[in-house]
């Protein structure tokens, strides 16, 4: 596939299963790098996810909720943060590598690097702030420059559903935009743990 596997090459080296076609959730074989597990039965798949979107939409909170199942009021990101989370599926183990970016302009050139080799991108906006959806559209343009349409799974994520009273973006509006662009769509709340696991499941099994 010509994808830069970077350090994951070592996984291939020792992998006896590399040429085997494991049973996978649809679409995953081509998106993830098969690795090896000691038992040799359940392969490990690396799955790289990048979180993109304006500052304060809740990217870090989503990652934190997913990885630690917890919520903290303040997690201001500096540069990029890297998290891992392992997910056991019937077909194998998925090792998520989650890249969370600060989304600040000065880090733009750096974060660009993190797109590389990504299997999925979560484009996050804040449903209480319309501007953040517009910004998400700009991030999408960036992604489209970087990837061919079938190279990456992109999900549009409207976060902070617990703040329904302050909603500025209707569910339909996000949904509609996602449909025209062929993106997955989900509304979440990192705070009340709404649809957070689901969105990560959705991107691997897409």
């Amino acid at each position: 596939m010509g994808r830069d596997l970077g350090r994951h090459e070592s996984f291939n080296e020792s992998s006896l299963l590399q040429s085997a076609k494991p049973q996978l959730p649809m679409g995953m074989a081509q998106k993830a790098t098969p690795g090896t597990s000691l038992e040799g039965i359940r392969p490990t798949y690396l799955y790289k996810v990048v979180l993109l979107g304006s500052t304060s939409v809740g990217k870090s909170s989503l990652a934190y909720r997913y990885v630690k199942n917890d919520f903290k009021e303040s997690l201001p990101t500096v540069g990029c943060s890297f998290f891992t989370q392992t997910l056991n599926l019937e077909a194998g183990t998925v090792k998520f590598e989650i890249w969370d970016t600060a989304g600040q302009e000065k880090y733009h050139s750096v974060c660009h690097l993190y797109y590389r080799g990504a299997h999925a991108a979560l484009l996050v906006y804040d449903i209480t702030n319309k501007e953040t959806l517009n910004r998400a559209k700009l991030w999408l343009r960036d992604l489209e420059k970087e990837f061919l349409p079938d190279e990456i799974v992109i999900a549009l994520v409207g976060n902070k559903t617990d703040l329904a009273a302050d909603r500025e973006v209707a569910t339909e509006e996000g949904e509609e935009f996602a449909r025209t662009k062929g993106l997955l769509f989900m509304e979440t709340s990192a705070k009340s743990n709404h649809h957070v696991n689901d969105i990560f499941m959705a991107i691997v099994s897409n």
Binding site: S81, F82, D100, K106
Partner: protein, 549 residues
């Protein structure tokens, strides 16, 4: 990316060093103070220092034209002098004691004047025996400290706001006056420091083209010290952008709104200002070590050293704002200011406690034109132990992340994990350990190592204002000791609530705070005893054998 350390084209690496070569750091001839030769004082490293040799204030003020020097401390150390004897110290003290009387009078005189002139709030410097009667003087002092306030603004030379400490509302009210003053100020030469005294305030300007930094302070700090803090703010901004990028931006567009680029980093600057108000590291221009048995520290350092990678320049382990270990690439020296900026970065965001962070950072004193990439993570969830791996290669995340794993593995194998955990339980020692009844607190800095030690601040400095007041007294003595027009080597200060003594030599700086009932003679013998204690404990309080890879 033009500013990337290793990518930048035409960026020569002199003598195989990553630091820009040589320069302005010529040693000032210190007046011939007898005593410990530099490099032999307690706390001096035995195998060379970790840091670039610093002269704190003067160092901060050297221009940032990308040619800031990083020179090996060994080069300046000269001949290793005989380890000085206690007799020598005592001799220094007899000299000291003759100077003290004059100094005390001089100081009192000055304080009285400044009080009458309402230039700045100052503590009552009445005789010790009036201590118990003085309700009035108590109030004066307290009021002065309640007023402790400082506004900080950063502007571009075109007058565009870049940063304001207390948000825009407060900024607005005072900004007009500041702007007016700026108009005349801006005519002045580059890199100037100016100050205005008015109505109980000091307004200090520091111009570092293309930025102008302004503080409006109602503190007892000298303008030199306020300027020193402003320069830290300036370096903080450089650490986010690099000097090269900052200048490039304003060359392209003079009235650029830098807030766009700095958005989200204001709290790092806020945090720096808060830290400077509480942590003597900044004042001392030195780094404090976590007290740790030498054998444990050595094992930690060796583990760090072994978990190296080609792109790594510095591996730093810290706890709170205390250094546990620092391993550096051979011939590369970190500057304490750069390390302070790293400490500040880490303490400014709780997010580093989760996952692994990878962020570009410029270390302006090391190289103001490029970014390093820092891998930042805590070793364990419940342990206040943060590992900082500084790499030259932004692509090297996984290699560096693996260094962390290897380091942890070695720590475990060497079995020092537990000892480290124990040490973290008592990150500060009590002054009672020294065994000098009247001694309340002290700060001792070894100049050649750039490290200092200081006990925990204890009663009577319990409340936050009290702690700040104590730091304020140190600041005051420090500014007197380092006054550029009239530096003092020995200062004896008597106040209503405590007495202080400062002793600055070419090898070390010592500030002690002791009971207001203690006598001067008592203080001098305390200093003597304290120096012996520090010598005895030095391998626990300092890093004597820094390592390299």
């Amino acid at each position: 990316m033009a500013a990337d350390v290793h990518k930048k084209k035409g960026w020569e690496v002199p003598n195989g060093s990553l630091a820009p070569g040589d320069g302005q750091h010529t040693e000032r001839s210190e007046s011939p103070t007898p005593g410990l030769a530099q490099g032999t004082e307690p706390g001096a490293g035995q195998e060379g220092a970790m840091f670039v040799h610093t002269r704190s204030y003067e160092d901060l003020t050297s221009p940032e034209d990308g040619a800031a020097a990083a020179r090996s401390p060994e080069e300046r150390r000269g001949e290793p002098a005989e380890p000085s004897s206690m007799e020598q110290i005592s001799k220094d003290f007899s000299e000291l004691s003759t100077q003290l009387t004059g100094m005390a009078l001089d100081l009192e005189e000055e304080m009285r004047q400044s009080k009458e002139g309402k230039l700045e709030p100052s503590p009552q410097t009445t005789r010790r025996d009036s201590v118990l009667s003085g309700k009035e003087e108590e109030d004066v002092t307290m009021d002065a400290w309640r007023m402790h306030r400082k506004h900080v603004f950063v502007l571009s030379e075109a007058g565009k706001p870049v940063y304001s400490r207390y948000g825009s509302e407060e900024a607005l009210s005072s900004t007009m006056g500041v702007m007016m003053a700026l108009v005349s100020f801006l005519e002045a030469e580059k890199n100037a420091i100016r100050s205005i005294h008015a109505d109980g305030y000091k307004v200090v300007f520091v111009r570092r083209s293309p930025l102008v930094l302004v503080a409006v302070a109602r503190t007892r700090q000298s303008e030199q010290e306020i300027a020193h803090e402003l320069l830290y703010i300036y370096y903080q901004i450089l650490s986010l952008l690099t000097w090269t990028q900052l200048n490039h931006i304003f060359q392209q567009k003079q009235n650029y709104d830098l807030r766009r680029l700095l958005a989200g980093s204001e709290r790092i600057t806020d945090n720096l200002l808060d830290l400077m108000a509480h942590d003597p590291s900044f004042l001392m221009g030195a780094v404090r070590c976590l007290p740790l048995a030498a054998s444990v520290r050595d094992a930690v350092s060796t583990s760090l050293q072994q978990a190296k990678a080609k792109s790594l320049v510095f591996s730093i382990l810290l706890s709170g704002n205390q250094l546990v270990s620092l391993v550096r690439k051979k011939d590369q020296f970190l500057h304490p200011i750069d390390l302070h900026l790293l400490f500040n970065l880490i303490s400014s965001s709780s997010s580093f406690r989760e996952g692994e962070a990878w962020t570009p950072i410029c270390l302006p004193k090391f190289n103001s034109s490029g970014f390093f990439h820092a891998h930042i993570s805590y070793l364990e969830q419940e342990m206040d132990l943060c590992l900082l791996l500084v790499s030259t290669d932004r692509e090297d995340f996984f290699t560096v992340s693996d260094c962390k794993r290897r380091f942890q593995e070695r720590l475990r194998r060497r079995g020092v994990h537990h000892a480290l955990q124990e040490a973290l339980r008592t990150p500060f020692y009590s002054v009672a350990q020294v065994g000098i009844p009247d001694l309340r607190h002290f700060i001792y800095k070894s100049k050649s190592s750039g490290l200092f030690t200081s006990p925990k601040i204890e009663a009577p400095y319990v409340r936050e204002e009290e702690k700040e007041r104590l730091l304020g007294l140190y600041q005051y003595l420090h500014s007197r000791a380092h006054n550029s027009s009239r530096p003092l080597k020995n200062i004896y200060f008597t106040g209503p609530r405590e007495n202080l003594l400062a002793w600055v030599t070419s090898a070390f700086e010592l500030y002690i705070c002791y009971s207001p009932l203690g006598t001067k003679a008592g203080a001098i013998s305390a200093v003597n005893k304290l120096m012996k204690w520090i010598r005895k404990e030095e391998d626990r309080l300092f890093i004597l054998t820094p390592q390299t890879y």
